[in-house]
Symmetry: D2
Subunit: 261 residues, 4 copies
């Protein structure tokens, strides 16, 4: 907006929204302190860092850590035994597939606040129902599960379907694609903050877009995801790995990247 130098230009522009903004700013606020000059609220330093966005929405921007691009699992290890490689399958140099029974996989790197992009697909062959179909999960900081499930024509409990924070928050809507298509999660995650005594100071928060549709709107995460009982924050922790769950289904993942916030 603004920073108009010429009064003539100003007159020429003295229309539309400028007019409106003029109106607003020329009327002294009720409180009427000494008037300011425009430059007084113009902050120049420090210059904002440039980030080159990806070519397409969903592509990794220049400052992203590419956690998986289809070629290898070098950023991942076995969750059961982090000294071992991730036991899942690479398919067509394009995506990875859960190997049921092999256990979950975790990133080698640890993260806190982040913007995370993940693509996933339910198994092509539709089997079972409810929680048994295409079940997996993205565990932020190895604790807080953004549920992965085949929620396309598959009724289950609302706080356990795709896009839910498992057993904490149902998604706002069900934006799931069919098992033959890929889905995206775009996640804005703020890690929990803890007090020195180890108790929770500020809960984690999460925003999730599922296939571009808002499904979690900056909700508080109420604690570590438990299958049974109320979630809470049993202990303080710092940055931690991101895990993908082996829940016995051949769920597929690709194009995983993350920006530290």
């Amino acid at each position: 907006m603004k920073s108009i130098k010429s009064p003539i230009l100003l007159m020429a522009l003295g229309l539309g929204l400028q007019m409106q903004a003029q109106d607003y700013s020329s009327v002294p606020p009720k409180e009427s302190p000494m008037p300011m000059k425009p430059e007084m609220t113009e902050i120049w330093e420090p210059e904002v860092k440039v980030v080159t966005p990806g070519k397409q929405l969903g592509d990794a921007p220049s400052d992203a850590i590419i956690l998986f691009d289809g070629s290898n699992l070098d950023h991942w290890v076995s969750q059961k035994d982090p000294s071992k490689p991730a036991p899942w399958k690479i398919v067509n140099n394009d995506h990875m597939e859960v190997v049921p029974g092999s256990g979950g996989i975790s990133t080698k790197m640890k993260f806190g606040d982040c913007q995370l992009h993940v693509e996933f697909s339910a198994p092509d062959k539709v089997e079972s129902e409810s929680q048994g179909r295409g079940n997996s999960g993205v565990f932020l900081q190895n604790r807080y599960e953004l549920q992965v499930l085949d929620s396309y024509n598959n009724r289950t409990y609302r706080n356990g379907q795709a896009g839910s924070i498992y057993k904490d928050h149902a998604p706002l809507v069900n934006a799931m694609r069919s098992p033959l298509e890929w889905n995206t999660y775009d996640v804005i995650y703020r890690a929990p903050r803890f007090k020195e005594d180890g108790t929770i100071d500020t809960k984690a928060t999460i925003t999730v877009l599922h296939n571009g549709v808002l499904v979690q709107n900056n909700v508080d995460i109420n604690g570590t995801t438990f299958y049974i009982g109320l979630h809470n924050y049993p202990e303080a922790h710092g940055d931690d790995v991101i895990s993908l769950q082996d829940h016995g289904n051949k769920t597929q993942f690709k194009n995983i990247w993350l920006r530290k916030l």
Copy 2:
């Protein structure tokens, strides 16, 4: 996650994260109330509404209001005189272009909380500098400006560049594309709430992804955008129109849609 019925499957899966989650949930929390059953935290009703996402990221989902698809300006009026049609130009049945001096344009419909998608491009011909280059703006509820500017190789004050909440919050990073390319804004907006006496109760908040890169992370909007002086909330208001600013540059827009939240 979970809802495993068979103990055999459970054993087979008794690995990886299940193990971990098991661990967590089988250890009684410090507070140790009477144990629950898994079903007690499984919420089934009401069923989550299905929304069909767009084909590609950026495409409108099934529950969106299409404010502009390139074909006409039927959803828009002149901001100066809402009884008149929007005075901007349609180009190639693809996008609209600001007609400098004609004034801003506003939606006919009024909105509050929303998810908004807008695409924009700076004029192809690069002219002027700082605030003079490719300047426009998206005014949520006709008051709160998400700045539009050509911020590609164009230094200006940080809280006035593309992706800023004008003179309120600089963007986290500068994710601007060149003037020959299109940019996207994906916005999650929460309208301000007011008290009965007209004063502010809860400030508006906004999250913005610029070309898929987070540039505003759930920040408070500190009030109506003023060119001069501190922003505040001079009066209560309800839903209101979205406006696009004529700031004298031939900025281009396309693919504008919105989901009410």
Copy 3:
């Protein structure tokens, strides 16, 4: 602070914190916009309303609604049948006492956001234990219970003792006095806000000082107080009465006043 006009005085004072504040404000902030003048951040209008505080801490200020001063129950009705008078006992023109079995009592007036002062005492004769001793409750908006209990040498579940938001938040500390003494609750309450569709928009929050000691620090109230199960907000509501609970014990109350916020 400040508004020093004379440079001589300024020099004379050029010590201590002035110095420090000087230091801070004379160093241009990193962002270095055009410098302001002190008056630009001095807001004069509207004048702040005068309220005469009570003589002693705990006494009602001039803008309070006196809900109970010891003399009568005119502000209260039977909770079972609001057309009938409050069935509790006035003792010595000083305090009221629960009449067990008569049911709770409610204010005639309805309230939302408020500062509330309540004094209470457990029955002089100590009987029973845990939840059976001196049990009552203050229900904000007839739904959200600030627990009243004899928590002096009386162990019970932590989220059910005096100063708790019943089955929602345990108090930070146990500041309870003996049954022969009076206790105070000073409460700052923000009512929940609801969306047009009746779902919760912003949870209620509460701060409680128990005998001057902070026991609830601006916590979210997670919903209507239920004896069984998780609390939630089953339906939207506006201002509502404040209720005091008959839980079968001769709990005593006095000096109840409220300021609308």
Copy 4:
């Protein structure tokens, strides 16, 4: 509340609010998960710590650090030169008085989140006006000023009067007593949190009761108190001293205590 064991008692009590609570909890919530038992939301451990409150409201509870009880300034040093004793005057073994020109004083101990009680009085002899009358200040963490001023019949800018967060937030009401009387501030303070890079993560918040009347309701503190220009958080900091300002007036203080939160 509750924990009623006898069905007969339950019937006898099946009245008033119990009835209501019954109603609420016996109607399954819309979402209808498997019903819980009352004990499942009764948290027993860890036991809540006992704190003995002061005799009267305003008196220090058992876990408070007594920063000033009228007898000496042992907890305080010169703000100009922390190696020197606090240069203010003790009067009648009852209160301290600013020695104008001697500079401010600071605690030796450093604090973060806290509940703080301070009593103060404007000079008995009324002199000057606006910011010149009875001016001092309580600086939380040596940076964030809760203004002290003689605001009894003394108009000044609203965000600079007693009870204000200086040049940040005006008090909700003016609860000031005359210069011949003592005032109390009861403060609930949450220190700011910073990110690893030194920028602000969560602003400080403050609640203030002035003579028992709410004047600041959990507001965000927008940064270090500057006399000139907008407040911000120029740098990260940890716990820090509390300072009292020498602004050239013989303001008096007494009964200062603090509980770490």
